[in-house]
Amino acid sequence: MFYREAGQFKTSYVADESIFPIAQDRWFVVGLVVFAFVGVPLFAGQYLYTEILIPVLILSIAAIGLNILTGYCGQVSLGTGGFMAVGAYAAYNVALRLPETNLILVFLFAGFMAMLVGLLFGLPSLRIKGFYLAVATLAAQFFLEWAFARVKWFTNYAPSGSVAVGRIELFGYPIDTPGKTYIFVLAMVVVLALAAKNLVRGRLGRMWMAMRDMDIAAEIIGIRPLHAKLSAFAVSSFYIGVAGALWGFLRLGSWEPLAFDVNRSFQVLFMIIIGGLGTILGSFLGAAFIVLLPILLNQLPSWLGIPISTAGISHIEFMLFGALIIFFLVVEPRGLARLWAIAKEKLRLWPFPY
């Protein structure tokens, strides 16, 4: 109904291997990105920026990172919060100690540090598998959380244990309003998402997926587990570290290790499960869903005019959140991305499905 791809022939290998083989898809995505850059700033207000758009975008970077590790390479990780903290504190320390560093370099360094830590904590994955590994990654989470709370050097000997970033500028151009922050984050997201999409389509991505589907069989056909698993940990931690630095610098401004506790890990894991394991699109859908859901649940009683105490609301929020998670898992265990694919397929044939 929406479109027909009839008449679009692929006449070269390049055309066959493009990210969006159908012209309408391609233009839709380009249009969406242009709209995000040009259209959204025309009407968006402070609240939309700081509470919805910026968190969704930053967390979708983290979700892409975790999706590379869990969705593509099959290694369940509960250490996302810890790796985000590594990114945030690495960026803070660079910005503090070398104030002249370019902002882009600061974030790249954050990703790089998270990558090193990720490699270190990825080593056990060569021996430990499945849920044993998932619990083992909690070791990384709790250790890192503890390290940033206790080692005074990381927080520059701040007596309160919380750190704050000063002026943020890019090439001498200050990023001080939500609108500018949004554009900056959006640019990062576009670059990183495109890179991730291409990575998982390439040699590395195929290695990861082979590892995920059956590691022994993959090993037998000549994929080195060390190489495949550690590269997944490295790339994933890089993304998560960048997301952590962005979260600290552009969303929070000042933070404590508690901002990156184990609940953050679960939040990002929820995103990729609800969004869809092993899809880049799912990372975005999941991030949007998990960020928007609590906001909606919070507003619901006041819209319906039901008087409930604040404590009561938070408990009911918990309940509804849990119930909705279960509901979505029961309805479509393969996530929102799968629902989207089904809807697209149905619409393509509608109203003549035969």
């Binding site: 869990t70 369940v76 056990p124 021996r127 430990i128 598998k129 499945g130 849920f131 044993y132 998932a134 619990v135 083992a136 909690l138 070791a139 709790f142 250790f143 959380e145 503890w146 709370a149 206790r150 080692v151 005074k152 244990g161 059956m214 022994i216 069989a217 037998i220 184990v262 679960f266 894991l269 929820f270 499960i273 394991l277 404590a311 009561g312 408990h315 009911i316 929020e317 918990f318 309940m319 509804l320 959140f321 849990g322 119930a323 909705l324 998670i325 279960i326 898992l329 029961v330 265990p333």
Partner: protein, 307 residues
Amino acid sequence: MALGPVLETLIGGLLTGVLYSLVALGFVLIFKASGVFNFAQGAMVLFAALSFARLSEFLPLVVAFALAVLIMIALAYAIEFLVLRHLVNQDGIILFMATLGIAYFLEGFGQTIWGSDIYKIGLGLPTNPIFILESVFPGGLLIDPAELIAAVICAVLVLVLAVFFQVTRVGRALRAVADDHQAAQSVGIPLNQIWLMVWAVAGIVALVAGMMWGAKLGVQFSLSLIALKALPVLILGGFTSIPGAIVGGLIIGAGEKLAEVLLAPVLVRTFDLAGGGIENWFAYVLALVFLLFRPQGLFGERIIERV
């Protein structure tokens, strides 16, 4: 450091470890029978303890306990009927996420209907510390009798479960299901009933754990975080082994307390830290080290992989 205090820490740690293994036991039961990594065990402990604490405010202890058992069985039924039944044959991680959803739901639900203050559980346990071996060490070793009783209860529980698994008809069916779902089903074992049974048993174990922890710390939200303490116990002992949960609990409990007393001050001095508090991660790192040598845990079933 003198031997006396170290030994005292060791005993305290071992007794706390027993309480950890009580929580880990619930995990093991469910994982063994259905392959579900049940993250909601901590929330179940909280929910059971809350139910018991609020019921015992106006009912005699025995009646409150019986009612709480009934509530946990009803909960098991609800979980089986509303969640598990629809997720048969899904990946482990999907089921894991579903139990996370259950955990969120239970935490919210429990506090909505039972309230979110700190409640006391009065089991009438003796509270005066006991001193033992006064002839060997000056002043003797201090032991908390409540923890000692918890340890005894835990031992009895494990014994009962072991007999239940080995001797009874249901126990045999449970072991069959744990071995192979399909084979068990094909010889006529009703899978749904078995799952219901095992979740109910795990719920009752959670109730006992909740009563013990509740008597120790008071019943409050933080009780559901006990699950995070039980996880290293679980991977150390192996997901599928009941003795593993006990031994793992003892190792983790003792290791954690000893590390806090012996290792933390050294770390603080060497690295100029703002306080110790290594309890949170030490258990995990300890378990990780064990895992590097035995990837399936100390008592877990050997992982045999075929292509």
